[in-house]
C-alpha cells in the first residue's frame, strides 16, 4: 500500500489537461410519442384535431380561433411581448400516445413518474386531495378521482376525454365563458389547446376535499396550452388547485456546504486542488432536460448536474486489469495511482469510474485553541450542549455511566480552559453522568466553534483550517465521546449526528487525516411510544470508516481521493441551473466535495410559452374556489385567461399566486350575472430580477345586489416589476352593488417597480365602491426593531415579507405554504442590506 501511495505522489505532479470546450456542446434527445412540426399553421391545427379524433364542431372552432389569432394584433398595452416568436414553438408534444391518459400511477413511464414524484404528487393524492391530474407538455399523463366522489357523480378528467365522453356538457359551456376572440392568447389557446382539467359537480354535491392538477413544461420551446372547464351545478361546492414547483445542489465553500443558488461573487470556494479560490462571476440559466445524478460509494455525497457539466475523474476502463464477464472490471492499483484525472462530461460517466475528492489544504493555526480546547470541544460535539441556567451561561455534557475516564479527562480540560471545577452529577436511573460548568468563556467558545443545537452543530472556519495534528485530537475526543468503535471484519470507527453540516465537515477533517469516511443517511421517521407519545426522529448521519482497510475501494492519491461511482441515473428537470467562474487557472469547484469544472454549455435562448384558458361556471347558489400557485421557471411567458360566471347567489373565489415566469399577464375575472352573486379575488405577485408580473382582477357586475372584493398583494425585489391592472364594471340596472379593491405593494429596494392601473366603469349611482392602494418599503426602523429581539437581518426581512403575504399563505395547502416560505427565503438571500 505504501508503494502505491508513493507512485500516486509521482503521478500527481502532472498538470490537469486543458479543456476542449467544443465537446460539451451537445443536447439530449427528448422522447415524445407524438409531436407536431415546429411552428403554427392551419395544417398544424388540423393535425392536432385529427390526432385527438375530435368531432367536427371542435375542429371548426379551432380553425375559426386560428384565423382570429392570425388577424389579431398583439396587445398594445402591458408588458412587451415582441420577443415572442410564435414560429419558434412546438405546439403539440405528448410523451404518451394521444388518449393514453393513465389512471394508475405505476403505469406512467419512469422518468415522468420521477418528475412528479419529486413534486410529491402520489403522496399528495393520498393525503390531501380528492383527485389529482398531471400534465406533461401537451399530454395529460394522469388523472384520477376518489371513488366516493365518482359515485356522487363528480367528473374529474382531462378535457380531451371530456369532449369524447361528455359532449353535451362540454358543448354547452366550452368557449361560452371565454370566447376565442376575447384576446389574442385566448384565440391561440382555442386553436391549439390540449389537456387541462374538466370538472363537473352535480347539483347539491359538496366536494369537501380539493381537486388538484399539476402542470409541467419539459421540453424547450414547447408551448403548453391547457384548457380547463369547471362547472359547479346548482348549490354545488368545489375547490380546485393548480400548481407547479422545482430545487438545489450544494457547493463546498471551505467551512460549509451552501446551496449553489445562494453563492455570490467574491465568495470563497474550494477548487480541485483543495485550495480556496474566489467566485468571479455567477451564472444562472434556465434549463430543460435531463439531470444526471451521481452517487459515489458514500451515499450522502450524491450530487446532480447537467449532462454536459465536466467532472474530474479517472475512467475505470483506463485503469482496469481485465474485463470480467460480469460486473465491474478490477482495477490495477498502480495504473490508478499513475492515472491523471481528466474532465469528462457528467453524461458520459459510468458506474465504477472514479470521481476526484480533493483534500482541503487551507491551514491556519490558532494558538488559542490548544490541546485542552480540542479535547473539550470534541466531547462537546459528541455530548455537549450550551444553555442558560438561572440566567447564566452554562455548558453541560451527558456521558454514559461507564465513560468515567472521559469524564475525568473532560473535567481536567475544563479546568485548564476556564480555571473552574466542573460539577459532575451522576444520574444512575438514566445511566448517565452529567458534567457541567458555569462559564461564559466556555459557552462562547463552544458556540463559536461548534454551534449550539444538536441539529445545527457545525465547526467554525477556524476549526476547519487548524493543522491536521490538532484536528486529530478533536476527532479523537469526538469519536470517544460518541462511543462507537466496533469490530466487524476490522475495527470500524463511527460517529452519528443529526447535523448534516457537521457530517460533511467530519468527512472533510477525516480526509485531512488521510481517511475517506463514508456518510450514511437514515431518513427521519416518527415513532409511537407505548404510552401513546409520538417521538420524531431527525435525519441521522453516520460517518464511518474502517481502520487499516481501504473501505469500498476508495483510492488515495496525493492530496486527494479517487472514489468509485456506485450508481448513475437521470431524471428530467426544468428550472434554473446555477454555475460560476472561479479565479485562477484551475477553474474548478467542488460539489458535495467532488471536483467539477465550471460549465460552458450552450444556453438555450428560446423561451417557453404557457397560454391557458380557464372557464368556470358557478350556477345558482354554487361555490367555487380556484387556487393557483404558479412557480414557472424564469424563461416562461405565462399568458393566461381565467374567467368565471357567477349566477344567482353563487360565490366564486380566485386565489392566484404568481412567483415564477419571465412575463405573466393574468387577470382572473368574475362576471356577476345573477342577483346576489359574490366574487372574492386574492391575487399575489412576487417578481425578482428579470421578471415582469402584470396581474390583477376584473369584476363585472351586471346584476343587482352583487358584491366583489379584490385584494392584490405584490412584492418586487432586485429590479423585478409588478403591476396591478384591474377593472371594476357596474352595468346599468345593476343596483345595490358593493365593491372593494385593495392593492398593497412592497418594494424592499430601490431598483424594483410597482404600478397600479385601476379602471372603474360605474353606471349606477348607488354603487358602493372603495379603493385603497398602498406602496410600502421595509423600513430601517422595522428591521432594527426585529433585530433588537435577536433576529438576524435576513430573518427579520423574511418575517416581514411573510407577514405581508400572510393573508395569502393561510389560504394555501400546507405544502404550498412551506414552498412559498422557502422560495422567499431563497430570493431574499443577499437581496437587501
Amino acid at each position: 500500500m505504501e508503494s502505491l501511495e508513493e507512485a500516486a505522489v509521482m503521478a500527481q505532479t502532472a498538470e490537469f489537461q486543458p479543456l476542449d470546450y467544443t465537446r460539451y456542446d451537445f443536447k439530449d434527445p427528448e422522447t415524445y410519442k407524438v409531436r407536431t412540426a415546429r411552428g403554427l399553421s392551419r395544417e398544424i391545427v388540423e393535425q392536432i384535431s385529427a390526432l385527438k379524433e375530435e368531432p367536427a364542431w371542435m375542429l371548426d372552432y379551432r380553425l375559426r380561433a386560428y384565423e382570429h389569432f392570425v388577424e389579431r394584433p398583439m396587445p398594445d398595452w402591458g408588458p412587451d411581448l415582441d420577443c415572442i416568436d410564435f414560429d419558434a414553438y412546438t405546439y403539440y408534444a405528448n410523451p404518451l400516445a394521444e388518449g393514453e391518459t393513465k389512471r394508475r400511477w405505476e403505469d406512467l413511464p419512469a422518468d415522468i413518474r420521477n418528475t412528479f414524484d419529486k413534486l410529491g404528487i402520489p403522496k399528495a393524492e393520498r393525503e390531501f386531495f380528492g383527485g389529482v391530474g398531471a400534465q406533461y407538455d401537451s399530454g395529460t399523463v394522469y388523472h384520477r378521482i376518489r371513488d366516493d366522489l365518482k359515485a356522487k357523480g363528480v367528473v374529474f378528467t382531462d378535457t380531451d376525454t371530456a369532449v369524447r365522453e361528455y359532449p353535451d356538457i362540454v358543448r354547452k359551456y366550452f368557449g361560452k365563458i371565454v370566447p376565442y376572440n376575447d384576446n389574442k392568447f385566448s384565440a391561440l389557446n382555442s386553436a391549439v389547446w390540449s389537456g387541462g382539467s374538466f370538472v363537473y359537480v352535480p347539483p347539491g354535491v359538496d366536494v369537501g376535499i380539493p381537486l388538484q392538477a399539476y402542470f409541467r413544461i419539459n421540453a424547450k420551446a414547447v408551448g403548453q396550452f391547457e384548457r380547463t372547464l369547471i362547472i359547479a351545478d346548482k348549490g354545488a361546492k368545489i375547490h380546485y388547485i393548480e400548481g407547479c414547483l422545482p430545487k438545489g445542489e450544494e457547493v463546498l465553500v471551505g467551512d460549509e456546504l451552501t446551496p449553489i443558488e445562494s453563492i455570490e461573487t467574491g465568495r470563497a470556494v474550494l477548487n480541485s486542488d483543495g485550495e480556496a479560490t474566489t467566485v468571479e462571476k455567477t451564472m444562472v440559466r434556465p434549463y430543460d432536460g435531463d439531470m444526471v445524478h451521481i452517487t459515489p460509494v458514500s451515499k450522502s455525497n450524491a450530487f446532480q448536474l447537467t449532462p454536459e457539466h465536466p467532472v474530474l475523474c479517472v475512467r475505470r476502463e483506463k485503469v482496469a486489469v481485465s474485463r470480467r464477464a460480469k460486473g465491474l472490471p478490477d482495477v490495477d492499483p498502480s495504473k490508478l495511482a499513475a492515472a491523471t484525472p481528466e474532465f469528462v462530461p457528467a453524461g458520459e460517466l459510468k458506474p465504477g469510474d472514479f470521481v476526484h475528492y480533493p483534500v482541503n489544504r487551507t491551514e491556519n493555526d490558532d494558538p488559542e485553541l490548544g490541546t485542552a480546547a480540542m479535547n473539550v470541544l470534541g466531547y462537546y460535539l459528541a455530548e455537549g450542549c450550551t444553555q442558560m441556567i438561572n440566567g447564566c451561561e452554562a455548558v453541560t455534557f451527558t456521558f454514559h455511566i461507564d465513560e468515567r475516564e472521559f469524564v475525568d479527562r473532560l473535567v481536567e480540560g475544563i479546568r485548564e480552559l476556564t480555571g473552574k471545577t466542573a460539577w459532575t452529577n451522576p444520574q444512575p436511573k438514566k445511566h448517565a453522568i452529567v458534567v457541567g460548568v458555569y462559564s461564559r468563556a466556555l459557552f462562547d467558545l463552544c458556540e463559536t466553534h461548534c454551534g449550539r443545537l444538536a441539529g445545527s452543530k457545525r465547526l467554525s472556519q477556524t476549526m476547519m483550517e487548524l493543522p491536521p495534528a490538532k484536528q486529530q485530537l478533536l476527532l479523537k475526543a469526538y469519536y470517544e465521546g460518541d462511543g462507537h468503535v466496533y469490530r466487524r471484519g476490522g475495527t470500524v470507527h463511527r460517529v452519528m449526528t443529526i447535523s448534516r453540516q457537521l457530517a460533511f465537515q467530519v468527512q472533510e477533517l477525516q480526509a485531512r487525516q488521510g481517511v475517506f469516511a463514508t456518510i450514511l443517511e437514515r431518513a427521519p421517521f416518527k415513532e409511537t411510544m407505548k404510552d401513546g407519545r409520538e417521538i420524531s426522529h431527525h435525519t441521522l448521519y453516520t460517518i464511518y470508516h474502517q481502520v487499516g482497510k481501504r473501505a469500498h475501494a476508495v483510492h488515495r492519491v496525493k492530496g486527494s481521493f479517487l472514489v468509485p461511482i456506485r450508481k448513475i441515473h437521470r431524471t428530467p428537470y426544468r428550472g434554473n441551473v446555477y454555475n460560476f467562474h472561479v479565479a485562477g487557472k484551475n477553474n474548478t469547484y467542488l460539489v458535495k466535495g467532488f471536483s467539477v469544472h465550471n460549465c460552458t454549455a450552450p444556453i438555450y435562448s428560446t423561451d417557453s410559452l404557457h397560454t391557458a384558458v380557464v372557464e368556470v361556471m358557478a350556477e345558482p347558489y354554487a361555490k367555487v374556489r380556484y387556487t393557483t400557485v404558479q412557480n414557472w421557471s424564469k424563461n416562461v411567458y405565462n399568458l393566461v385567461t381565467k374567467r368565471a360566471v357567477a349566477m344567482e347567489s353563487a360565490l366564486v373565489e380566485w386565489v392566484d399566486g404568481n412567483m415564477g415566469s419571465k412575463i405573466t399577464m393574468k387577470y382572473p375575472s368574475v362576471y356577476l350575472k345573477g342577483r346576489g352573486a359574490r366574487a372574492d379575488i386574492l391575487s399575489v405577485a412576487f417578481a425578482s430580477a428579470g421578471q415582469v408580473i402584470d396581474s390583477g382582477a376584473k369584476c363585472v357586475h351586471s346584476a343587482p345586489d352583487t358584491s366583489s372584493k379584490i385584494v392584490s398583494k405584490s412584492i418586487a425585489i432586485r429590479g423585478g416589476r409588478t403591476s396591478y391592472r384591474g377593472l371594476l364594471h357596474v352595468a346599468k340596472g345593476a343596483t345595490g352593488v358593493k365593491a372593494a379593491v385593495r392593492c398593497d405593494a412592497l418594494l424592499p429596494d430601490e431598483d424594483s417597480r410597482s404600478d397600479t392601473y385601476p379602471y372603474n366603469e360605474i353606471h349606477e349611482e348607488d354603487a358602493t365602491i372603495t379603493h385603497e392602494a398602498v406602496v410600502g418599503k421595509i423600513g430601517e426602523e422595522q428591521i432594527f426593531y426585529l433585530m433588537s429581539r435577536g433576529l438576524s437581518e435576513s430573518d427579520a426581512i423574511h418575517l416581514i415579507l411573510m407577514g405581508f403575504l400572510a393573508e395569502f399563505a393561510k389560504e394555501l395547502p400546507m405544502d404550498y405554504a412551506l414552498e412559498l416560505n422557502r422560495l422567499i427565503q431563497l430570493e431574499m438571500t443577499g437581496a437587501v442590506g
Partner: protein, 258 residues
C-alpha cells in the same frame, strides 16, 4: 440539577460619545449597571436619554464616536444588533414598530428561540409564563393572534413591550419612556409589572421624563442626564425632588431651589 446563585453581571459604559446625522448628542456618558438593580434615568427633553438607549442597542443611525460599552468585560459595541440581543440586552421602544401579518405569539416565540436552544426551550413554561404575564399586564389573550402592534393603542404598545421583556428574560433591559402617553391606570399596570419582573438575574434601566412611573417601579438609583452626560445621581428621593422643582436648576448646574 441544584440551583446555583446567579452570577452578577455588569454593564459598564465609559466616556460614551454618539452622534445622529453628524450632530453630537452624547458627550461622554459614564454609567454602571448591575443585575439585581433597577436604575432610573431621568432628564429633560433632548438631553440624550433615548439616544443612549438606541446607541446601546446599536441603531444604525446612532453612531458611537468614542467610548466603550462592556457587558461583563465583553465589547458590546463590536456586536451587531441581533448579537447584542442574544447576549442579553433588551430595548423596550418608546415607539414600537408595526408588522402586518406577523402575529404577536409567533413573534414572541421566534424571539424567545433566539435566546434558547432546542434542548432548553420549554414550550409549556413559555405558555404558562406568557399567560401569567398577560394577566399581570391586564391584556387579553386575543392580543396574541393580532398582528404585531398593528392597530394597538399607545398603551397597548407599551404593555406589549413589557410583555416582550418578560418573555425574553434579558440580562439587561432598557425601557425607553415606558410611561409616555399612558393614562394613570396604564402607568400603574406597566410599572407594577416591571417591579414584579425585577429579580437578581436582571438589571433594568427605566428611562423617563416623569417621576410618576417611579412610584411603582421603585428604583434603587436615579440618574439625571443633561446635555448628553450624566449630571446628577441620587436615591429615589431625587426623582421626587425633580418632579417638584423641575429640571432647570440641574441644567444650569445650580443647587436646588429651596
Amino acid at each position: 440539577m441544584a440551583a446555583t446563585p446567579p452570577v452578577e453581571h455588569t454593564l459598564l459604559i465609559q466616556g460614551l460619545h454618539a452622534e445622529v446625522g453628524g450632530k453630537e448628542i452624547l458627550k461622554g456618558v459614564d454609567l454602571e449597571l448591575h443585575t439585581g438593580e433597577l436604575t432610573a434615568m431621568m432628564g429633560p427633553n433632548g438631553s440624550g436619554k433615548s439616544t443612549l438607549a438606541y446607541a446601546l442597542m446599536g441603531h444604525p443611525k446612532y453612531k458611537v464616536t468614542s467610548g466603550t460599552v462592556k457587558l461583563d468585560g465583553k465589547d458590546l459595541l463590536a456586536l451587531t444588533v441581533d448579537q447584542r440581543a442574544r447576549a442579553g440586552l433588551f430595548l423596550g421602544f418608546q415607539y414600537p414598530q408595526e408588522v402586518s401579518g406577523l402575529s404577536l405569539s409567533k413573534f414572541l416565540w421566534t424571539s424567545y428561540m433566539q435566546r434558547h436552544t432546542a434542548e432548553n426551550a420549554n414550550v409549556e413554561k413559555f405558555g404558562k409564563d406568557l399567560n401569567s404575564n398577560l394577566a399581570l399586564l391586564g391584556m387579553d389573550e386575543s392580543f396574541l393572534k393580532r398582528s404585531l402592534n398593528e392597530g394597538f393603542s399607545g398603551g397597548e404598545k407599551k404593555r406589549t413591550e413589557v410583555l416582550q421583556m418578560a418573555t425574553l428574560d434579558p440580562v439587561f433591559a432598557i425601557l425607553d419612556e415606558p410611561d409616555s402617553g399612558l393614562d394613570i391606570d396604564a402607568v400603574k399596570a406597566v410599572g407594577d409589572t416591571v417591579a414584579q419582573l425585577q429579580n437578581p438575574g436582571v438589571g433594568i434601566l427605566v428611562i423617563t421624563h416623569y417621576q410618576r412611573i417611579l412610584k411603582f417601579v421603585k428604583p434603587h438609583r436615579v440618574y439625571v442626564m443633561v446635555d448628553g452626560a450624566v449630571a446628577l445621581s441620587g436615591g429615589r428621593e431625587l426623582a421626587e425632588e425633580l418632579e417638584a422643582k423641575g429640571y432647570d436648576w440641574v441644567k444650569v448646574g445650580l443647587a436646588p431651589p429651596a
